[in-house]
């Protein structure tokens, strides 16, 4: 099974650049998630790997096999690329039974009928759709259609399985079940999977690796939890995480001898971080769970006022403000505070991310310099 390599791939539609100088290697056996907002070029990239769209520039390899080269005007036909593709709409052929849908790809390989039957029944068993083989797609539920689509793509045993938002047409509960199932299938088959989604939870929970794309450009390639903990830039930080990461723009300053961030009316004392000098415009970003609410009298905390409280069941998120600075904080106590209550706000160590406001790139992590511990 191959590594898939994209080298400087660019796709333009007229003046619109859908994918911009994109390079990436997808290791054999990985579950690679392409994550990004709609229109970021992730589906286009997937289609270029499948051979359904040709890049404007660049090269694509599967192992050392060239499958696309703009320089040589060479494009291997999709059927020779040995990939399977699952569409968001499933694209099941409505005039064929489930059996015929699954058998189609095998027929194209000129497999003898007896063998086809054997394989279809086998894969249908794995996907738990053995009872449905004589039904038509219109007679199936969304989840069943999804399984049929999966079975249809897996039957010819492609070396790589491409999925384009395969779960987005399912209801919330089914989606969670199917995620677990997909992860299990990947664990068992070690099949290379490239998975396109705009759902960060899906990407983080499924992928062995996640690629974040924005405006056709690769933003970050990382393991899911790394991506969450250390976003490479503001876009990634903001895109991943729910509720969204808190962002406070400001300027690095030194008050007295305390290093910190001067935001709109609030000074945040911070541990020094190398390469970040006073006067630099930075954006401070803190995840809601990297903050905690404290008693307002607590000397180590900053004083804020509650604005509103949003319980989500498992967690309670409280929005606090001071001047024009506001935060969403995940609360540890299970009491719901009324609005306009005075509270203290404290930060988890190494929980504060700094980004260059101008270039939006990460400057590193730092901690809150608590007043009574300050040096």
């Amino acid at each position: 099974m191959p590594n898939i390599t994209l080298k400087n791939v660019t796709k333009r539609f007229g003046d619109v650049v859908a994918v911009d100088d994109f390079s990436l290697t997808i290791p054999d056996g990985s579950f690679m998630c392409f994550l990004g907002p709609s229109g970021c070029g992730k589906t286009t990239t997937l289609r270029m790997i499948a051979g359904l769209a040709d890049p404007t520039e660049g090269e694509i390899y599967m192992d050392d096999r060239l499958v696309y080269s703009s320089e040589q005007a060479f494009s291997m036909s999709p059927k020779d690329r040995d990939v399977g593709l699952i569409f968001q709409s499933y694209a099941l052929w409505p005039h064929m039974t489930v059996y015929k849908n699954i058998a189609f790809g095998l027929e194209m390989e000129k497999m003898p009928a007896a063998k086809i039957k054997e394989k279809v029944i086998e894969i249908a068993g794995v996907m738990a759709i053995g009872e449905l083989l004589e039904r038509f797609p219109a007679e199936l539920s969304g989840g069943q259609q999804q399984r049929v689509a999966l079975a249809r793509s897996l039957a010819p045993q492609p070396s790589c399985l491409l999925m384009d938002e395969p779960l987005s047409n399912l209801d919330a509960k089914l989606r969670v079940d199917m995620r677990a199932e997909l992860k299990r299938i990947h664990g068992e088959t070690k099949q290379t999977i490239i998975y396109v989604t705009h759902d960060q939870i899906e990407a983080l929970s499924l992928g062995t690796q996640v690629v974040i794309m924005h405006q056709g450009k690769l933003q970050q390639l990382d393991e899911p939890m790394e991506m969450y903990k250390s976003p490479a830039n503001l876009f990634v930080g903001e895109f991943i995480g729910s509720p969204r990461i808190n962002m406070v723009p400001g300027e690095i300053a030194v008050a007295g001898d305390q290093f910190g961030l001067q935001a709109d009316g609030v000074f945040f004392p911070l541990e020094r971080i190398s390469g970040v000098e006073p006067g630099k415009k930075v954006t401070m970003a803190v995840r809601p769970e990297d903050m905690r609410l404290a008693e307002p009298e607590e000397a180590t905390a900053l004083r804020f006022t509650t604005y509103s409280t949003l319980p989500t069941g498992a967690d309670i998120y409280t929005r606090v403000y001071r001047g024009n600075v506001s935060f969403t904080v995940r609360q540890e106590q299970r009491t719901i505070l009324p609005p306009e209550t005075e509270v203290g706000v404290d930060f988890v160590d190494e929980g504060i991310l700094l980004f260059d406001t101008e270039s939006e790139q990460s400057l590193g992590k730092t901690s809150f310099a608590r007043p009574n511990q300050g040096t």
Partner: protein
């Protein structure tokens, strides 16, 4: 693995590698190859005839070379231009027919609009009893040959002025005034009664498809049904109303049969009849120029239509959602309106058919008493004393041949047309965004802009003599099939495009990834899924192919008669009993074919109107 992948470096090599790979990819991408073939075919069959017609209008005909000094046959000439537009013949040849055309089409289209619009509103937006049946009956006049009403009119109203036999009214002792027997008034009425179903379907569709949420919003804000009708419903369908009006005008320009039957006896000529008689009298140059003028006229009306509704297609596409439509309760008016509507439908459907039928069994023309009834014109043997020995239609081999030809023409042209429409739809949708897609789309729509009789004229100019390797097809049945197919192509292409749009591209892409080649994808994925749209795309062209006269009248030769052209021929002879019998056979054929296809495809023109 691929030899071309190992080529590196050398630029010279690279060029050939690129060329080789590009060619391979082009041929692996059948929509591309297909689009080139379709482009060539459409250029030849749509643009070609227009071009040769213009060319013929500016080239001196051998017959006219005798009259024109200093010019030689086959050379460029302004003779026809001068003759048509400047000479002292200009009024007879062009200006009077132009004025007459306007005199006919404006009142005709207004009348058709009022009838069609009122019926549509009654059927879709009131609680009139029997709406579904009314909807079905109301569109019958459009599926009948366009001269059915004209022939019935003659049978009823023909008076003594033009000589020959007289109609039923004269027999009853009432002499209708000549303006009611022949000329613009009967032409306007007869054409309006033929074309109103067009407004009925368009306006009815718009009334039905209005998003009911728009009405519900108004109702929630406190508007009653009357206000909703006036301020929301009528306002929303205004584009559809205007559009159906303009489209009726545009169609009226090319209409031939009613003016030919009801206008020519009193020398009331419109552009289409003038064009026809110029061809008959061997003056194609002038005829071609008239055709050009008709095309320009029709195009300007359709351009106006595009300006009015902002889309060329003339359909109001408001996606319908189930909801509560505002339905007007007719209350005390129910009975009178019911009677009025049923009487109207009786007059435009039943009375003409009975009238036509009566004419076929009358031995001595003009005498409608029972003792004069005969079946001679149906089953009689040739008798030299009756109509110069013309046998009854069922005994006439020419009729059987024409019947067979008509059936063949309807089936062949519609099947080819539907397939061509599907192929064009496929390429247009697959290559969306490229210039060739747009060009194919517009080329295939072009025949819609050309009035039928003018379209026939362009084909006459293209196929009158052999060109390049293509033989002269004039006088062959093949030519009739081609011209009917191309004329109906706009409808088939629209159907093909919308069918492919609905199908989406993923269904085919799933096949590509599964490793199916193009022909397999077509055969096993696309065609089976387009079957119903293909079959329903056949119905309309087939019916119109079986009752078409304007389009083919100037391409017909004695060897290729159809029921329609034969009917016209016998009407010209004044053999009304024969022509009416042929008409009935034609109607029966269309009816059987329509019901057959509807049974086969479960497709109904009036579907959904009248709940």
């Amino acid at each position: 693995m691929q030899p071309e992948t190992q080529v590196t470096g050398k630029k010279r090599h690279l060029f050939f590698v690129r060329l080789w790979n590009t060619t391979k990819r082009a041929f692996r991408n059948p929509p591309f190859v297909l689009s080139i073939l379709l482009l060539v075919a459409l250029l030849y069959l749509v643009i070609g005839p227009l071009f040769t017609m213009l060319q013929s209008a500016l080239t001196l005909h051998p017959r006219d070379a005798l009259f024109v000094r200093g010019e030689q046959a086959g050379q460029f000439t302004t003779y026809y231009l001068v003759r048509t537009f400047l000479s002292n013949m200009r009024n007879v040849l062009f200006f009077q027919p132009l004025i007459n055309t306007f005199v006919v089409i404006f009142p005709m289209s207004a009348l058709a609009l009022v009838i069609g619009g009122l019926l549509a509103w009654l059927v879709v937006r009131t609680d009139l009893p029997g709406r579904r049946m009314i909807a079905k009956i109301a569109i019958i006049p459009y599926t009948l040959p366009s001269w059915t009403l004209a022939l019935a009119w003659i049978t009823l109203f023909k008076n003594r002025t033009v000589g020959g036999s007289t109609g039923i009214l004269e027999w009853l002792g009432i002499t209708p005034p000549t303006w009611l027997s022949f000329g613009p008034v009967p032409i306007i009425i007869v054409m309006a009664l033929h074309y109103y179903p067009f407004s009925f379907l368009l306006i009815g569709g718009a009334l039905r498809d209005i998003d009911t949420r728009l009405e519900e919003s108004a109702r929630v804000l406190g508007a009653d049904t009357k206000v909703i009708m006036r301020r929301i419903v009528f306002a929303l369908i205004t584009p559809a109303v205007l559009s159906s009006w303009i489209l009726t005008i545009a169609r009226g320009v090319g209409s031939f049969s009613a003016p030919a039957l009801l206008g020519r006896p009193v020398n009331f000529q419109v552009l289409s009849t003038r064009l026809y008689s110029n061809l008959q009298t061997g003056s194609p140059g002038v005829a071609y120029l008239l055709a050009v003028m008709m095309i320009l006229l029709a195009i300007s009306f359709l351009y106006l239509n595009q300006k009015v509704i902002g889309t060329r297609k003339g359909f109001v596409t408001i996606t319908g959602k189930a909801g509560t439509k505002s339905i007007v309760k007719l209350g005390r008016l129910t009975k009178p309106i019911c009677i009025l509507v049923y009487a109207f439908l009786l007059c435009v459907v039943v009375v003409p058919l009975i009238t036509v039928a009566i004419e076929t069994v009358v031995m001595m023309p003009g005498d409608y008493s029972l003792s004069n009834f005969t079946l001679h014109f149906w089953v009689g043997k040739s008798d030299p004393h009756i109509l110069s020995g013309q046998p009854g239609v069922l005994r006439d081999p020419e009729m059987w041949k024409a019947l067979w030809n008509t059936l063949k023409l309807g089936v062949l042209s519609s099947v080819f047309c539907a397939f061509a429409g599907l192929l064009i739809g496929y390429t247009v949708v697959r290559l969306r965004g490229r210039w060739i897609s747009k060009v194919l789309d517009q080329l295939s729509f072009l025949p819609y802009l050309v009035p039928s009789i003018a379209f026939g004229a362009t084909y006459l100019s293209l196929f009158a003599k052999p060109r390049l390797f293509i033989p002269s097809l004039y006088g062959t049945f093949t030519l009739l099939v081609i011209v009917t197919m191309i004329k109906n192509l706009p409808f088939a292409t629209r159907a093909g495009i919308s069918g492919m749009m609905q199908l989406g591209h993923e269904i085919e892409e799933a096949g590509i990834v599964a490793g199916a080649g193009w022909s397999t994808r077509m055969r096993r994925l696309i065609l089976p899924l387009q079957r119903s749209s293909l079959l329903s795309g056949i119905l309309l062209p087939m019916v119109s192919g079986m009752r078409e006269l304007s389009l083919i009248i100037i391409l017909i030769t004695p060897g290729t008669h159809l029921l329609t052209s034969l009917t016209f021929k016998f009407t010209d002879y004044g053999y009304y009993s024969i022509s009416n019998a042929l008409l009935l056979i034609n109607i029966l054929l269309v009816l059987v074919a329509t019901i057959g296809v509807q049974k086969l495809t479960k497709n109904d023109l009036s579907a959904g109107l009248g709940g």
